[in-house]
Point group: C2
Chain length 214, copies 2
């Protein structure tokens, strides 16, 4: 499935880097769990980092019921959610052709507040997106905790992805210059799990955490 | 120097994580080079990832002169720039107390278009922020390339930082549960430089790149 191209989601700069198919966009979303949420209040834009979970063409966001962002978004205010993965520095011979390798997805849509079973499901989706399996190993939310938490369902109306991969592209004459060119890869890496100093003796890691032991 | 607290930049959720001093905010900005820029057109928010450079209380942004974002921002439209570093997954015993360790800075202000010497200086600042020293090793921008590039100067009017560090914080009774708790550190790491397949024989890396050879 492809999202329609509109003035809102069309990639204008370097159109060949633009993608509109769900498969590409969902892969970018599934490779992360931190997004930047954009909204506007009285003409002032705000960009707030937060965790998310994807389920079909829906993005779940959560936070405290007192969150300004969530209270604003649950009114159905226009919203933009962006997820970016940085994959490398692209070092060309010319300053001008320097670039980055990256995968980003920009989503447009609106959100609504969840209650009941769907709210609990959404929290599990967010938890799974951050650390698969951790939900089942943890003490689940109490009614009081659920009451203190807002969960929003953002439906993707339009979206685009932008991707750059590969080597630098220099102007033809610049290839003769004695300047090193190439790519420095960048990756988000996980370190060895650090136990809570207050962990009781004999409590073992669950499978969700064990995967990170080197 | 501290930024004034206003309804726009005040950290409302978990106020103890909020910081308003330039030192803390600048450290977060200096630890990265990728920001998410928020702006609003006809009430629709947009969040676009892009590179930046900091110079005092100024953030430089650059891109093609045809960029919709830059053309909009150079009119002095309200803008929000956010920089986020993810430092770890915080695994509590309860789902509810799961969190992340992070450092984020949210900046408010407006931008204006640069020309001449300040424009060239700004490009060097952005280049240095991404990879210190690379500017001096590269073929510098030609007049034609400068003409195809817009550079904006965004002055920070208000700002806040939000930081979480350290171990999980659980509710008292939960410490008795046989559930592993702790932190999985997250880091952005650089890999071994990959030479451009079109690199001419005998061209050596500059010092800016050599630092990444393991």
């Amino acid at each position: 499935m492809e999202y329609n191209l509109t003035p809102r989601n069309k990639v204008k700069r370097i159109p060949k880097r633009g993608h509109y198919d769900q498969k590409t966009i969902f892969e970018i979303l599934d490779a992360g769990f931190l997004c930047h949420v954009g909204f506007s209040m009285d003409g002032q834009p705000f960009v707030i980092p937060t965790a998310y979970g994807r389920d079909g063409d829906v993005i779940y966001l959560h936070g405290a019921t007192t969150s300004r962002m969530l209270k604003h978004l649950e009114t159905g205010a226009p919203c933009c959610i962006t997820v970016t993965h940085l994959d490398g520095l692209v070092l060309a011979r010319s300053v001008f052709n320097h670039s980055m390798n990256y995968r980003s997805a920009v989503l447009f849509g609106t959100a609504s507040l969840l209650e009941g079973d769907e709210k609990m499901h959404a929290l599990e989706v967010v938890s799974d997106q951050i650390l698969k399996g951790r939900w089942d190993e943890s003490r689940l939310p109490s009614p009081k905790e659920m009451k203190a938490t807002s969960v929003l369902k953002f439906t993707i109306e339009e979206a685009s992805a932008k991707i750059r991969t590969g080597d630098p592209g220099d102007d033809k004459p610049d290839y003769e210059l004695p300047i090193w060119a190439g790519v420095i890869p960048i990756e988000q890496t996980y370190g060895e799990p650090i136990p809570d100093p207050l962990l009781k003796d004999g409590v073992e890691m669950g499978e969700s955490v064990k995967r990170f032991v080197k």
